[in-house]
């Protein structure tokens, strides 16, 4: 099997300014933060970020990497709102395609299945359709007389045609992976990571630990903990602590103290500069060392 091992910085080296990039996880949970930090340090710009948004969005906005965000929400979970995201929005520094979180799922699914759209009731009647004027409705082709009309109420029904959310690149973070590109999630929810990978042209996993090919199920974990198969991945990078400060059980929980400090740093530019200098604009090894220092205190 191909050896797909790479590094966080090499993954970011594959990205280009202006790309549409999907980021796995959900809110402040199992986010590929090492890659996010590396993007923050890079000269990439003008990115469109597609995510169930958490501090990935906030950090990338705070460092000026983002032109547009596609999302249904941005939250830090234990802190309801990400102040960096709020600031970016309230100062008009970033565009947004805001959709229902189920529409978002269907957009990734459509891209993954290579169809132009998937129909749904979600969005009908809401301002999601007015704030995204390019969204279209689709009328069911199964009208009166068709053998396929189940319920007469659905005859000619109009639904939202959620467009495929095609991604230039996607990055997800897992607890374990192998060099072939299979990915294991040991927490109970794989979220939508397989769909982010399926929707993307260039597909990357970062992981806490790379184990020998074929051994992901050896530690007593059922194969159902390995939702990401190697046909979905082009590269895999081992980066312990790579989801910090988001929650990545069972390896580690959310670093709530750190997250509070991250959020508080949005209060004024000097505080942000200090925070970024210490924790964002440094290499990953330096970052992890500083996190360990904090935790030892």
């Amino acid at each position: 099997m191909a050896d797909k091992r790479t590094t966080v910085d090499d993954i970011v080296g594959e990205l280009r300014s202006g790309m549409t990039i999907g980021i796995g996880g959900w809110g402040s949970r199992r986010k590929p933060m090492a890659v996010v930090r590396s993007i923050c340090r890079s000269d990439l710009t003008d990115l469109t970020i597609v995510a169930y948004g958490g501090p990935d969005i906030g950090l990338l906005c705070a460092t000026g990497k983002v032109r547009k965000v596609v999302c249904g929400f941005v939250t830090l979970d234990s802190i309801a709102l990400d102040p960096h995201w709020r600031a970016a929005r309230q100062h008009g520094r970033v565009e947004v395609m805001e959709v229902d979180e189920g529409m978002f799922f269907l957009g990734l699914q459509a891209a993954s299945w290579r169809v132009p759209f998937l129909p749904t009731r979600a969005g009908l009647g809401s301002d999601v359709l007015s704030i995204n004027p390019d969204l279209r409705l689709v009328r069911s082709p199964y009208g009166a007389g068709s053998p396929y009309v189940g319920d007469p109420a659905d005859t000619d029904v109009e639904l939202v045609a959620m467009p495929a959310l095609r991604l230039d690149a996607a990055i997800v973070h897992t607890n374990r992976a192998d060099a072939a590109g299979n990915g294991q999630v040991l927490s109970p929810d794989p979220f939508f990571d397989t769909l982010f990978l399926g929707a993307a042209e260039h597909r990357f996993i970062t992981t806490e630990r790379i184990v020998a090919d074929g051994t992901l199920a050896d530690e007593g974990h059922p194969l159902s903990t390995v939702p990401i198969h190697r046909m979905l991945t082009d590269g895999v990078a081992e980066t312990p602590g790579g989801a910090h400060f988001t929650a990545n059980p069972p390896d580690y929980g959310r670093d709530e103290a750190f997250q509070k400090e991250y959020a508080a740093a949005a209060a004024d530019p000097a505080e942000w500069e200090a925070f970024a200098g210490r924790y964002v604009l440094v290499g990953e090894d330096e970052y992890q060392a500083r996190v360990k220092e904090r935790q030892a205190l």
Partner: protein, 255 residues
Amino acid sequence: MTEYGVTRAEFCVVACADVWRDAGEVMASPFGTIPALGARLAKLTFAPDLVLTDGEAALMVGAPPIGTPPAELVREAAMTYRSVFDVVWSGRRHIMMMASQIDRTGNQNISAIGPHDRPKVQLVGVRGAPGNSVNHPTSYWVPDHNARSFVEQVDVVSGVGYARAAAAGAGATRFHDIRRVVSNLGVFDFETPDRTMRLRSRHPGVSVDDVAAATGFTLTVPADAAETRLPTPVELDIIRVVLDPGSLRDREVRN
């Protein structure tokens, strides 16, 4: 304080619980401490078939106290976020969301205050509100009822109200069902000829004038607008002794 010393928060818990009366075997998805207590109270009393999640990726057995550590929860089935959409779109769910703004026809806003392209205040985002509101019964919880939360027209329609659903057609109306709004002042529904908001009951200690003054639009007020019902002694015991001995409910609604 009233008979049994029932607090405002306790009236709110019972009003929320009543939202799930006769719901059957559906997922109750409460947002906020008081709706969470309401759903658990309903499950322990008159709605035993309700399905509750553990807040992560599973369905949990029973109705444990608020704040039970995850390690002590007993789980009965997996419910990943992706499978939640199977439930939402099948209709087997009654959610109680919060609302930063709610309006006369039942539109809810959790997206942004002010113009969406440059919000005055960015909120969390529409989340699942558009899809929830047109797929299964939806109710709302507003712990701070005032003229900024109960508005004539919300700034960004996230959850869809009656007029907007009707204008959107059969695809939107077929499963659309905004049941109740519970606030710290009273209980509201849309059981009026034009499906606009009506006062269903006011919490004891709150006058019709208090409600009207705190509402930014004209409410329908039935001549016989009742008081919100008292919890039964058993319900009070369950709230106070079993589900919320630490009185977290009082942090959401003060007496």
